[in-house]
């Protein structure tokens, strides 16, 4: 049933992702980005995707490669424009991709709300700014808030450090970033990890993503990149 499945390949992990899906993609820049799952998704061929991720791709790998392959209709992210976001920049300037800019904390909290069954929440971020346009405003206890709605994914593709055979996950340093939140917010959560261990090998006090949020796991050799031009 909902028990996590450990699959043999990244291709098996992304099987069945439909055209038009909303896919939450983990990573902050390139830290924590699930490169192998994204490459498999490119091979798999799903198109017309809506991608929710903090950035809109760096360099020519990961999310940038998915964008370059022409599979993405729309990106919801907090920070598309970076020194090495040339793939997105060109698509955007050519009018080939839609962009919705969401403040970073709202991106995280709206996905958390989706995972936590919260219908909407009043948030102080972006009040009085252009990103408040069209949003419901309410004053509560003397402070002004905007009403924010959940962001739910059909799929989440995330990278973690170690999984146990039940699907419990731990991450590594700041590569943790959006993974745990996205895992809760998607109907189907697909994870690439560097290692799978027997249930009981992870410290139950240190599990970050409990197994209930994980659907498919694939073990791959980690690839790491740093963002070009980061400052």
């Amino acid at each position: 049933m909902s028990r996590a499945e450990i699959v043999e390949s990244a291709d098996a992990a992304v099987a069945g992702i439909e055209d038009g899906s909303t896919v939450l993609v983990g990573g902050f820049g390139l830290a924590g980005m699930p490169f192998d799952l994204i490459d498999a998704l490119i091979r798999q061929g799903a198109k017309d995707l809506t991608i929710v991720s903090n950035n809109a791709g760096n360099g020519d790998v990961g999310l940038a490669a998915l964008l370059a392959a022409g599979r993405v209709r729309k990106v919801l992210c907090s920070f598309p424009r970076q020194a090495d976001s040339w793939v997105f920049d060109d698509l955007y300037r050519a009018g080939k991709i839609e962009l919705e800019v969401v403040p970073q904390g709202n991106l995280a909290e709206r996905m958390r709300a989706a995972g936590a069954g919260i219908g909407a929440f009043y948030c102080p971020t972006a009040v009085g700014t252009p990103l408040a346009e069209g949003k419901e405003v309410r004053e509560i206890d003397g402070r002004t808030y905007l009403l924010e709605y959940p962001i739910k994914g059909d799929y989440a593709l995330i990278g973690a450090h170690v999984a146990d055979t039940l699907g419990n996950l731990v991450y590594r340093k700041t590569a943790r970033n959006f993974g745990p939140v996205m895992a809760t917010a998607a109907t189907t959560t697909i994870v690439q990890v560097e290692q799978v261990v027997e249930a009981g090998k992870l410290d139950p006090e240190a599990v970050v993503t409990p197994s209930i949020y994980v659907d498919r796991i694939v073990q791959v050799t980690a690839r790491h990149y740093t963002v070009q031009g980061a400052r």
Partner: protein, 230 residues
Amino acid sequence: MTTTSSAQASADHRLSMDELAAVIARDVPAGSFVNLGIGQPTKIADHLPADSGVVLHTENGMLNMGPKAEGNAIDPDLTNAGKVPVTELPGAAYFHHADSFAMMRGGHLDVCVLGAYQVAFDGDLANWTTGKPDDIPAVGGAMDLAIGAKDVYVMMTLFTRSGEPKLVPRCTYPLTGVGCVSRVYTDHGVFGLGPEGVRIRETYGIDAHELAQRLGIPPAQGTGGIHQQP
């Protein structure tokens, strides 16, 4: 109008960004929890005394971040919010993005230092987009930081390259946050912002009178009228 007695110090020259970082580092309370924005504000860390006990937060999910990583210490899984590889200090803690921004939004950080395009006398902040048609909008954590610390300091040059003031009566760039900045650190001087308006705290290579005039700070604000009401 003369130099206000509220000015704590002054220098005979306009400060470099490095000197300014040192000034800000001096003002960060010992033992406080601080987020240093991407770009110039990250320099402040280099000037914090070793025994300051200041704990640095990075919004991508860490407390007690250490200095930039060099050489073999570079770990692509450990970066700051600017995506630069950094290090971890003893007593660090990692957390996910929803927890990290809950920490900010909940008002738990003592100080956050940000760069800016413009700051208004009433504390409005503009630092995320120029609003030009060809500018791809990108906000990152700027709006969350703007409303997410007990004190928001801005670190910037006081004038644009063409000589326009960046501390202004009213922002013309799109806003990041409303009335959120409490202090502005610039190469020409330090300004306190509050309900009473602008207060010149220090000047560098310019006197307070001239500074107030160049910025159009109303006399009732930049001067004695303020420090009479402590």
